[in-house]
Symmetry: C2
Subunit: 561 residues, 2 copies
């Protein structure tokens, strides 16, 4: 049975912390807020009002469309802080008029023609987990309504090429759906954004999502072998290629296009066998700065750890991996081909030589059941047809997300926690960037100062924590979490003041406005400071070619035409 | 003293094989051609005629411009097969009228305005090693002349950020110039295209050149941290970032733009310390097909060898690494951080388990002199200023290209050999592609059949060899060399027939028309079959934004406006 999505909060209703958990959270927050915040009742859909749909649809679209209130509420917003607050307040004035669930590309073509004819904005919707208002549009001006196109019924792994280790997948498949379907082949995409259970392949490609790997293959970009996007001007499909130097890469126009050019319907993705050898360790540091140096050297070592997450003391406490005020570096290696002890040993020797402390021995595991014997080779060369899914007897024990460590579970649960904090009236959000190593000290100092000053001003103080989610030879991707006390009714203004301050700090000290949360509508003012002005002109002319009527996701990434 | 460039052939005059070497080559060719081909005299510039320049230039451009005959001849063509033949024949009817050597961006702006005003085509020129007619334009239609812009005087490493391991480099710097300047820091770009001594950073970026690494970091794309391109519409400069997810990547519009959008003037590149540990080995196989399987498994292993070049029997013989009809796999690992024995051992165990034979033990070297002590870390965190270049005493012994193995030397000399073969009347060229592993057997069979049939038809038979230059988890990049006997005066038609046959075979069996030789003018017909039609429309509108008068490199990559 399908689990029920929360109409206003993150994810599934049954995973939102219940009354007791929220009460416990409230008393923990008392340390910050003086008195524990009050436990507000959960929002009720019955209390929500929304305008009647502003248009009717032709019969061929009616079979895939709905104006159901709950569906419209779910699809009104993404799940960023502003979205949670507005949802919690019952503000659904901008609900899309119709929600469409296409099952084939023909439906998209019909929708394009309908929306062009009727001046209706068309918002592509994957998992709806945008934190940058990527799926939200309040019709105005020349748009007399909004159509939300939810791709969730196009969610199949269409075929698997085991020779080239690639899978042909429909864009509406969530991380969970992809994992389930690939598991029968002993394969995995190894792409775990925090939104993994909800977000979709198409959404990942449209927003350049980052995932599992802390190094080397950080973004979905690195796994896309080819992509198919249906645009109002026709189909834009790239060739399956492992690499090419033929002109600018057409894939790269689609990656990050945020629904402004077309709707991604399919892609071939590079996949991998499940790792057989795994190693993990954690290293503590008295000082965050020392750990930063270590992470830089590791990032430049060519060891390419699969996890190289550095948590500052606040993060380490929040995620329950340290309670003594240390910064903690979480290290992991994995391989489907060979043992990785020497890599882990070298990484730990770098870390400990430079002041890190291992609390315990690194943990090594080898999956013996799962070993894949080399396939008969010549046979494999002459056929690209995948064999039938392997039988239950050799099926790997469970998929990787279920093997989550304490850290990983906390990681996937964090967005649920945010929804609970909103219910407690807290202003809390995350933001992230990337910058070169030489600029990190100044950027970090500037962000910390800006966030603390803004939280002081709007909330009388607050908490700010930092971790590195991904690291590169030339720089880290720092990820910040902030938390301050809301003033009832003023939370959005408080949030906006903090967001503006930290965004300004990031962009003025050489960072990117987003390493993996996309531009959407929220980040656009700062993206406009970061990108070459001529590049936006090029993207606008690309939009004019692909979406001449300008119906697609107006105001997302690019200004409204 | 600057060495003298050949006005018609590859590279430097003093490196072209001399009379004796060409005589020896001729007698080796007798095996193929029946009688040894005749030794033609070297082309003479005196015998060359070319039209007078069709325009005059204003005084501010005269100081950076020349109409010197030798300069015009050098800059008329790239150095592909057709270029060598036309140069050898003394066909310089399409020589550019003026050659400009800008030293600063202001010069480019003056050139843009001048060319726009006077309807002159402007062809950006780096090392002039294009094999796809990327730097050649015969003025006609609305263009009343051609200006060639040679970037070779903008060739400095401007600064080095040792913390982030990045270097800020002017686009006109050749591979050799970059290597020389980085060497003083103990750093290297590790990007060695075959044209390394001549080709430039700007050319590499404009054409998405591939280089040193057989896996992982195959193209210059992977090293570009930011780029600056001057266009007729203004400056297009991207931010230095280790990674970002903010909209489509602006760098990727410049990578592969082939001079159609603007002139690349500078870039920040990711650099590395010289490797300290190196390992190399070669593995022989009776059958090419077995070796292909091994290479696929290696490419999917996550071992990421720095060299993983597979030579078929013909290549192995040509490059003097085997004379017994074996396919040979050249394997290498390198690291500046840690020993790589375990990686090499695992790679060799994969190769030998599946039928490969090692003739000798793998060779391991460790550079003890060159060890870089970890830098004082907090000091390094707070300053991005590079220290002065290190003194002679810690200078590494020689740069990597000078440490070339037999294979590497043959690799860098191959283009000189081609010029010598042209002098002997042979039709000989290389072409390359990439495809997914599942498609390789059919693509290879199709290419072999097409090349052999075409050579039979136009030259009574010939030689075709294949190697893999780069490999990916999802497919190889095969590189072919062909050689057949020319009929005097008909060589270009013979070449065109073979080129068309193999290009058609590649594109119709799922390959890309080029993995790293660019599109230029030669590959455009097949690129147009490969790329999404809508993508070309997008690129054309990008060109309209960036180069509204359409003066830049007309007909290269995109059709003439």
């Amino acid at each position: 049975m399908a689990r029920s999505r929360s109409f206003w909060g993150w994810g599934y209703e049954d995973k939102l912390p219940g009354d007791n958990a929220r009460r416990a959270l409230a008393s923990r927050l008392a340390a910050l807020t003086g008195t524990p915040p009050e436990l507000a009742p959960l929002p009720s859909l019955d209390a929500v009002t929304m305008p009647e749909p502003r248009y009717t649809v032709p019969v061929e679209l009616r079979s895939i469309g709905t104006t159901d209130k709950r569906e419209r509420a779910i699809h009104t917003y993404g799940r960023g802080y502003r979205d949670l607050v507005r949802g919690f307040r019952g503000d659904y004035a901008s609900a899309p008029d119709w929600i469409f669930h296409p099952t084939e590309e023909e439906h998209l073509l019909s929708l394009f023609r309908f929306c062009e004819r009727e001046s209706i904005a068309l918002v592509p919707y994957g998992g709806g987990t945008s934190v940058v208002s990527g799926v939200e549009f309040a019709a105005s001006g020349r748009f007399r309504g909004v159509a939300c196109v939810d791709l969730s019924r196009m969610d199949k792994v269409l075929s698997v090429d085991e020779i080239s280790r690639s899978a042909h997948i429909q864009a509406g498949a969530t991380g969970s759906k992809i994992a389930e379907q690939l598991e029968t082949y002993g394969l995995t995409l190894r792409h775990y954004p925090q939104s993994f259970e909800l977000s979709t392949l198409g959404g990942w490609i449209a927003t350049r999502a980052a995932g599992h790997y802390a190094t080397l293959y950080t973004h979905i970009d690195d796994f896309v072998e080819s992509v198919r996007m249906v645009t109002p001007a026709g189909v834009f499909e790239t060739r399956r290629l492992p690499g090419s130097g033929a002109g600018p890469s057409p894939d790269r126009l689609v990656l990050g296009s945020e629904g402004a050019f077309g709707i991604i319907t399919e892609a071939w993705l590079r996949v991998q066998p499940r790792p057989r050898w795994r190693a993990s360790a954690s290293v503590s540091f008295d000082r965050f700065e020392d750990a930063v140096d270590v992470v830089r050297i590791l990032a430049q070592s060519g060891l390419n750890p699969v996890n190289c997450r550095l948590l500052d003391a606040g993060e380490a406490m929040l995620h329950q991996v340290d309670s003594e005020g240390n910064a903690v570096l979480l290290l992991a290696f994995e391989s489907a081909d060979h043992p990785i002890e020497t890599s882990m040993e070298r990484a730990l020797s770098i870390a400990t030589d430079l002041g890190g402390r291992c609390k315990e021995e690194p943990k090594y595991t080898t999956d013996v059941i799962h070993s894949i014997a080399p396939r008969p080779l010549h046979a494999s060369m002459t056929s690209s047809r995948p064999p039938p899914p392997s039988s239950g007897s050799v099926r790997p024990p469970a998929h990787d997300v279920q093997e989550a460590s304490v850290w990983k579970q906390a990681f996937f649960d964090a967005p649920y926690l945010q929804s609970a904090l909103v219910l407690l009236g807290m202003v809390c959000d995350t933001f992230e960037t990337a910058c070169t190593w030489d600029r990190f000290p100044a950027l970090h100092a500037s962000v910390v100062a800006a966030a603390n000053a803004a939280m002081q001003k709007v909330g009388g103080g607050g908490l700010l924590t930092c971790r590195f989610t991904h690291v590169y030879p030339d720089g880290p991707a720092p990820y910040y979490t902030f938390l301050t006390k809301g003033r009832p009714g003023e939370e959005l203004e408080q949030w906006a003041a903090i967001k503006a301050a930290v965004s300004e700090a990031i962009v003025s000290t050489g960072g990117t406005i987003t390493h993996h949360h996309a531009v959407g509508r929220v980040h656009r003012p700062w993206w406009e400071k970061e990108r070459p002005a001529l590049f936006e002109k090029v993207l606008v002319s690309a939009k004019n070619e692909l979406d001449p009527a300008g119906i697609l996701n107006p105001g997302c990434l690019l200004p409204i035409k």
